[in-house]
């Protein structure tokens, strides 16, 4: 469903991604690991259309379409979801209202009817129970005054409600304690199915104990330097990044 071919990306003339290729098929979970500054977040930003990045060469095809030609909201409505590393606060905008607007923007785009308030609430309550979130979440502003763990859970809630075809998770584990990590991972795992693809970006192997990937890729200095199965993650945990060729220092 997602084919990234020899993708090169610069910010202000500095090359960050130096030729990335990645092929994600429906139902697969790909983990992208790598040291800080290797370009992991840049990849998630470019795939979701954040401004400020220059794609200098390569291509990205998503469900047969040229992804790089689409506006960020169009990509989202076509089923790409990014769970942010640092979810932003939008003061005064009710969390539930925001979520409903997002869900309906996507439904309208896909030719479905908008959800009415009752159906929306039913579905929302069910998913909130799964993530052990209480009702007060809905009345607060979007991420306004949320703790780090609450923000991440809110991201997973949005993901569950938006039912993406391709979900990107950017360092979802950072800033989470073990309990919160478990809850978020359960949320993600409940969404795994044959159709849905995942790209899980993480610095640490820990997350992959909970969300077990099909493939692991090691990103270093803007290139994928090694790919393998889930065992690669364990090997990394044991030996660090230093043993892989192409990484100067871990």
């Amino acid at each position: 469903m997602l084919q990234v071919k020899d993708l090169k990306v610069s910010i202000d003339g500095k090359e960050i991604l130096k030729g990335i290729s990645l092929d994600v098929k429906p139902g697969e979970v790909h983990a992208i690991m790598g040291p800080n500054g290797s370009g992991k977040s840049t990849l998630s930003h470019v795939l979701t259309g954040r401004e400020g990045y220059d794609v200098t060469s390569g291509s990205v095809s998503y469900l047969g379409k040229d992804l790089l030609d689409m506006e960020p909201e169009e990509r989202a409505r076509e089923g790409i979801f990014l769970a942010f590393q640092y979810p932003v606060e939008i003061p005064g905008v009710n969390n539930m209202y925001f979520l409903k607007a997002a869900v309906n923007a996507r439904r309208v785009h896909q030719g479905m009817e908008e959800l009415d308030a009752l159906d929306f609430m039913d579905s929302l309550k069910e998913k909130m129970a799964l993530l052990k979130m209480d009702d007060s979440f809905l009345k607060r502003g979007v991420n306004e005054g949320f703790s780090g763990g609450e923000k991440k859970r809110n991201e997973i809630l949005q993901m569950a409600m938006l039912e993406p075809k391709l979900a990107l998770l950017d360092e979802t584990d950072s800033g989470l304690d073990i309990d919160a990590l478990q809850i978020c991972s359960d949320g993600v795992n409940s969404l795994r199915n044959k159709e849905r693809g995942f790209v899980v970006i993480t610095h640490y192997q820990r997350l992959l104990d909970y969300i077990v990937p099909d493939f692991v890729h090691v990103l270093a200095d803007g290139r994928i330097v090694k790919s393998g199965g889930k065992d690669l993650a364990l090997e990394l945990e044991e030996k660090g990044y230093g043993w892989i060729e192409g990484i100067d220092a871990a």
Partner: protein, 482 residues
């Protein structure tokens, strides 16, 4: 891909929804201002002699005054002799006696603006006074209100039916010589709304006045007088629109509120006069003097305004807190887009003991708009235990607009507690990216973020109008940011 700056540059796509002109036969007096013109207006309205004298005195005072120039505004010189000071829809038999007799074209106009003038219509809980150019064309629910002792009528009717009340209160809060525009208004005002809530009465419905400027080359000078007697309560709302025209039109209104012991007035404004185009051609000059006097102990006044229209807005709804324990509130959203300018804020004058005031101002600047908050908090010598809290937040969109804050604080009593907080922020790229990643269009994202920014003010509006105001904010920013 389209960047946010490109969206910013596409400002021009904004459209003003209320820009149509009603084709109705009107009686418009020739442009120009003189004692004869004032006599003519007064005669047309069949006014008592004292009213004419009051007008003429104001006019003579006005002649000695100069336009204020302290506001941060660029104003093209106004030629007061080129304005017509009276325009009214022609009606064969004087004023309509009932709603059924109102010209259907007028009813249609208000229908189009979303203000039904039928008493069984959607806004059943709201009584409306409709002011078209210089005259009030209809007032709904008049009789029903009169049954509970509430007087709600046009200013002209009040002068005929309750002259003693008008005479007692008119000009006691905003004196005729208060300022240049107030003096001009006192000389030539043509109509407006009058409200009297008797002792102990809680007005059973929202009262509202809807102002519409239709004729060209005219000014609108209305006067609103609201009196809440002891322990009375009223919530009042005004709305304003005008057709799109290339010339600037002057709207110089005066609003006086009198709040007696234990009484409370809530006054809300949704102002959407034609703002002019992206080059600053046309639009309404909205120069308004609004003041409330809390005369009795434990009285309260609350101003809420959402100002999205007008080429220039110059207004400072104020509270004179005379009674002990009286309180004043000012909640404001002012939005300037295109080449709009706003210099607005409030004055809180603390005179009584333990008086309190609360100011929340939200300024939004987009396009080439200039937005200034100007506020005075004055604690006089005898105002023992006075408190004030002021919060001024500015939101900037793009790099061609401006936000300015001019707070003045004068404290003459050492027991006062005065707090002032101010912030300036931009809609961050992170916020836009986040919203768009969730599938919201850039425009919906802006509208949502702006409404969130204004939430503290919007929640003060009566429910029926809060929804309108939210839409209006989104609409006024259409095409401005991405």
């Amino acid at each position: 891909m389209v960047s946010s700056t490109d969206h910013l540059d596409s400002l021009v796509t904004q459209e003003y929804k209320h820009g149509f002109v009603t084709d109705i036969e009107s009686e418009i007096i020739p442009p120009g201002l003189s004692e004869d013109v004032i006599r003519l207006i007064s005669a047309k309205k069949d006014e008592p002699q004292w009213m004419l004298e009051w007008r003429l005195n104001s006019y003579r005072h006005w002649l000695t005054m100069k336009e204020p120039n302290w506001a941060k505004l660029e104003i093209e010189p106004i030629d007061y002799q080129s304005i017509s000071y009276y325009a009214a829809p022609k009606n064969p038999d004087d004023a309509p006696k009932s709603l059924d007799e109102v010209d259907p074209k007028l009813l249609e106009t208000y229908e189009k603006l979303g203000i039904p003038l039928e008493e069984r219509a959607a806004l059943a809980g709201v009584a409306v006074d409709a002011v078209f150019d210089s005259v009030s064309v209809a007032t709904t629910f008049k009789d029903k209100l009169y049954d509970v002792g509430v007087i709600f009528c046009s200013f002209s009717d009040a002068l005929k039916e309750h002259p003693e009340l008008v005479k007692e209160y008119l000009g006691t809060v905003v004196p005729t010589g208060d300022n240049f525009f107030a003096a001009l208004n006192a000389a030539v005002f043509s109509d407006g709304s009058f409200v009297y809530i008797p002792k102990g009465v809680r007005c059973p419905m929202e009262l509202s006045t809807y102002f519409r400027i239709n004729a060209s080359n005219t000014g609108q000078f209305e006067r609103t007088l609201i009196i809440a007697d002891e322990d009375a309560y009223v919530s009042y709302l005004e709305g304003c629109t005008a057709p799109m025209r290339d010339e600037n039109q002057l709207h110089a209104a005066v609003v006086e509120l009198i709040v007696q012991k234990g009484a409370s007035i809530k006054y809300s404004t949704v102002q959407n006069w034609y703002p002019g185009d992206e080059n600053g051609v046309g639009g309404i000059y909205n120069f308004v003097t609004k003041r409330a006097e809390c005369r009795g102990d434990n009285s309260k006044v609350s101003w809420t305004q959402v100002e999205t229209g007008s080429a220039i807005t110059w207004k400072y709804p104020s509270c004179v807190l005379k009674g002990d324990n009286s309180s004043g509130e000012f909640y404001s959203v002012a939005l300037t887009n295109l080449k709009q300018q706003a210099d607005t804020g409030t004055k809180m004058i603390h005179i009584g003991k333990n008086t309190s005031s609360n100011i929340v101002s939200k300024g939004i600047s987009a396009g080439r708009g200039q937005n200034a908050y100007r506020g005075l908090v004055k604690i006089t010598k005898g105002a023992e235990g006075a408190r004030n809290y002021t919060q001024c937040d500015s939101l900037l969109m793009g790099d061609k607009c401006g936000a300015h804050t001019f707070p003045y604080i004068e404290v003459l009593n050492p027991t006062a507690q005065v707090e002032h907080e101010a912030t300036t922020s931009k809609i961050s790229e992170d916020q836009m990216y986040y919203c768009r990643q969730r599938g919201l269009s850039a425009e919906d994202a802006v509208s949502m973020i702006v409404n969130g920014f204004c939430k503290e003010v919007l929640k003060e509006l009566p429910m029926e109008f809060a929804v309108e105001a939210q839409k209006l904010l989104g609409l006024s920013l259409e095409g401005s940011v991405g």
